[in-house]
Symmetry: C2
Subunit: 360 residues, 2 copies
């Protein structure tokens, strides 16, 4: 498939998807995508417990799809004709980079839940520009999407469109680190003492918090330019002992049960953004946060009550697939895509200029 090649117009309901990374997110994503008219034509993971398993069994569909999880991405990418790969591997661009390049060089579009890839133009400038070049050379698009796309970007942007003047934006979002595995728990300092957290997390040059990247995208969408961006990371603690299933440990009172990162963005146009990303082991009754406060004319406060972050992430990625296939080639963040919409019909109906599939 190559966007630069012509081809006759053909109305197809199906969009052919390679699921690249078969973890928890993929388990939710696969049934969502199938419900919205995708065909799963390949699945990739290097977990020996999964390799060889039928995708239908993996995703608890109740029937097999005849597609086995493979640990050989080159073989999959060379042997099937996919419209898009859904990459659910790592949070940061550098960890995904080789996989992204491989997919793009096979002429397949990418949508990824990599939080940094939602807007990595400054946090991984060199690699993002290389990916942009490689995507263009191969006539395909790479886009980051997920919870951010709607709830940390299009939602505040929409409310902004109902305001006369915005001087300051404060956003706070949270997620339960227990939902995302051991690597993420460790990156959030779960189980560290106050001193350990300071030396291992607060004081080190580190990866940006997830709202650092979505904040840069939001600023771009609002037409502002960034004067300064910085972040402070502090531990989240509890006065009670908290058990973490992910680390398998009881965390003493006062030790870190997660991290709160506050990213502050100043703009040349004046407005300031203060964006708090909280990832922690939840206490009983806690739910995800998505709270926004605009200071300006008029002051405006809005929130989503305990959003189901995993479900919204997978639904958003599913709804975004046609836009990525329709997009111009390159590394295309959502600030270059149309406002996302709910897919009422199979995703193939939203794909423009259906191309003659097949590598030629």
């Amino acid at each position: 498939m190559n966007k630069n090649k012509g081809g006759f117009s053909l109305k197809l309901n199906k969009v052919r998807v390679i699921q690249y990374g078969c973890g928890n997110m993929a388990k939710s994503l696969i049934p969502y995508m199938i419900e919205k008219g995708a065909d799963i034509v390949g699945a990739i993971d290097n977990n020996p417990d999964l390799v060889g398993q039928d995708v239908g069994d993996f995703a608890n569909l109740g029937h097999q799809l005849g597609i086995k999880i493979s640990n050989d991405p080159d073989q999959v990418l060379s042997s099937v004709d996919a419209d898009i790969a859904v990459v659910t591997l790592f949070s940061f661009v550098q960890d995904n980079y080789d996989h992204f390049v491989k997919i793009l060089e096979h002429g397949v579009n990418i949508i990824t839940t990599s939080e940094e890839a939602f807007y990595s133009w400054s946090t991984s400038a060199q690699q993002t520009n290389e990916l942009n070049r490689i995507a263009k050379e191969n006539g395909v698009t790479i886009t980051g999407s997920g919870m951010q796309d709607i709830f940390w970007s299009q939602l505040p942007l929409t409310v902004a469109a109902g305001c006369q003047r915005i001087d300051r934006i404060e956003g706070a979002v949270s997620y339960n680190v227990e939902d995302y595995g051991i690597a993420l728990a460790n990156a959030h300092g779960v189980g560290l003492t106050a001193d350990e957290f300071k030396t291992q997390i607060t004081d080190v040059e580190s990866f940006p918090s997830y709202m650092w990247n979505s904040g840069e995208e939001l600023v771009s969408q609002l037409g502002w330019t960034i004067k300064n961006i910085s972040e402070v990371r502090v531990p989240v603690t509890s006065e009670q002992v908290v058990h973490s299933d992910t680390t398998g440990k009881d965390i003493p009172a006062g030790d870190a049960i997660g991290m709160s990162a506050v990213c502050t963005i100043e703009t040349y146009q004046g407005p300031v953004l203060k964006l708090q990303t909280i990832g922690q082991v939840y206490l009983p009754g806690q739910g995800d946060l998505c709270d926004w406060h605009f200071f300006g004319e008029p002051n405006t406060n809005f929130s989503v009550a305990k959003p189901d972050t995993v479900a919204h992430t997978c639904a958003t990625v599913t709804n975004r697939i046609p836009d990525v296939i329709n997009a111009h080639p390159g590394f295309v963040a959502v600030d270059e895509l149309p406002a996302l919409r709910y897919l009422s019909y199979p995703m193939g109906y939203y794909v423009r200029n259906q191309r003659h599939r097949g590598h030629c």
Copy 2:
């Protein structure tokens, strides 16, 4: 001005506006529009207390604009060259109809806060189709906007784009009838007894509630088609005596302090919408409502806390002006316009294909 006529491209910061209707809404709108780069080139009202007053004095700008409020719309429309008229007269299309026709026939675009005009294709089908024809014949656009545009439409649409499946939508919005004058208070049955309300409001063929129209637009945006739409209107009452400044009366406990209208929309695709519009005299501490509940995958609940409906209405209309000028000719509801955005810069910068102004 005529969209069908050519002309050289000229970058202009200013958009020339006629304020058509000088009530409370106009008092907020005029400074908002000026802040965002509009020039007020005409103002129309038939209130003898206002005719002849300078628009700057009327809108408390602290300086005069040199434009006087006129009671002669033909004279204003014939003597100045305006890009758009902002019509803040009546809620319903039939009351605005003659004014709309006059403006369109002068080749001037319209944006209006008429709640019905937000989506009047079925509630005033004949007149809306006539307006569509007249607008096209004159190469200009008429669009309804206001609070609905963002908070009753684009906001739920945005959250829908983060959902996998929507089975049912429940929305509830409210406003204080004390903010909108005697005509609206009477239309909401303020001061009626239970029996009077039943015979004068509940039992009569009546105008649609405001969310009837925004609900039809929302359904259109979601790609669904309406199978049935109906509405139930009941009085809002209080156990205490409530004073209404608008009617100048104390309303006994149990009598109507306003109306709650629940519009139910069934769609051929299955999803059902239940939309509640509450207009009442507020009790101490009450604020405007904007609460949404989606039932589906996942269930999603979101709200705006006590939105400042007047300010959001005026800000939304201001932000929407470039889209109306850019739109194709006709009666163009916002389901045919791009997602609304916050204007970070003077509105002229968002106007495409600036035309050579001047009637020729």
